[in-house]
Amino acid sequence: MSTDNTITVKFFARLREELDTATLRVEAKPGLTAGQLLHDLAGRGGNWAQLDGAQPVMIAVNQVMTKPEKALQPGDEVAFFPPVTGG
């Protein structure tokens, strides 16, 4: 996790492949929630549009599963991924 004013965003599995992105950084705007961040990213269009509800997206903040309402802090690590299928 970084100590500057950014949030690290990670993608896994199908999302990582379809967005062609494993990691990116975004600015930690005051009041930003995980769900809002997801909505903002969907606004990029193209494959990113699927983040806006077309497929279920799980959210983890600092490696703990969380709800979209979760407020983000500078330095947080947010991960978006499809429902898990291990075991």
Partner: protein
């Protein structure tokens, strides 16, 4: 003991450690999952398993901790492989030892069921000419929720 690794594992070695966990142990339950040729695609030749390093281990630690609070668990060992795995290869091992048989079975099955729905692993099925991310099965969600 929790391990996420590419290399194969030996259930016999895990069993030996579980068996040596003390004179109060009366029951050892183990589960091993293998790559199977009948997933969402036909003619699967293997799997690719991705995970979220760091979070995976934390989630499994949490599941083992929860199992230890609900049942008598002397020791639990969980191994999950990642990367490319061919047909019939071992994917996952869960072993639990307990004083009692019911506790060993319940804790082992609980950890395995919960792992499938809450640990950040993703499977991609590979056939001769295509690959395809596996979708989560409603049955797995239901099995895990039945423990709640």
């Amino acid at each position: 003991m929790i391990r996420v690794q590419q290399q194969d594992f030996d259930p016999a070695e895990e069993y030996r450690v579980l068996r040596d966990s003390g004179s109060g142990t009366g029951a050892i339950a183990t589960f091993t999952g293998l790559v199977r040729d009948s997933g969402d695609l036909k003619d699967v030749t293997g799997l690719f398993l991705e995970h979220y390093p760091g979070m995976t281990e934390q989630v499994i630690e949490g599941l083992v901790h929860e199992a230890s609070q609900r049942w008598d668990v002397r020791e639990a060992r969980v191994i999950h492989r990642v990367g490319f795995l061919a047909l019939a290869e071992q994917i996952v091992f869960v072993g639990v030892c307990s004083a009692h048989r019911g506790d060993a079975f319940a804790a082992c099955e609980f950890i395995m069921d919960a792992l499938k729905t809450s640990a950040p692993f993703w499977k991609k099925e590979i056939t001769g000419d295509s690959e395809h991310w596996v979708e989560q099965k409603a049955a797995d969600r239901d099995r895990s929720q039945s423990w709640e």
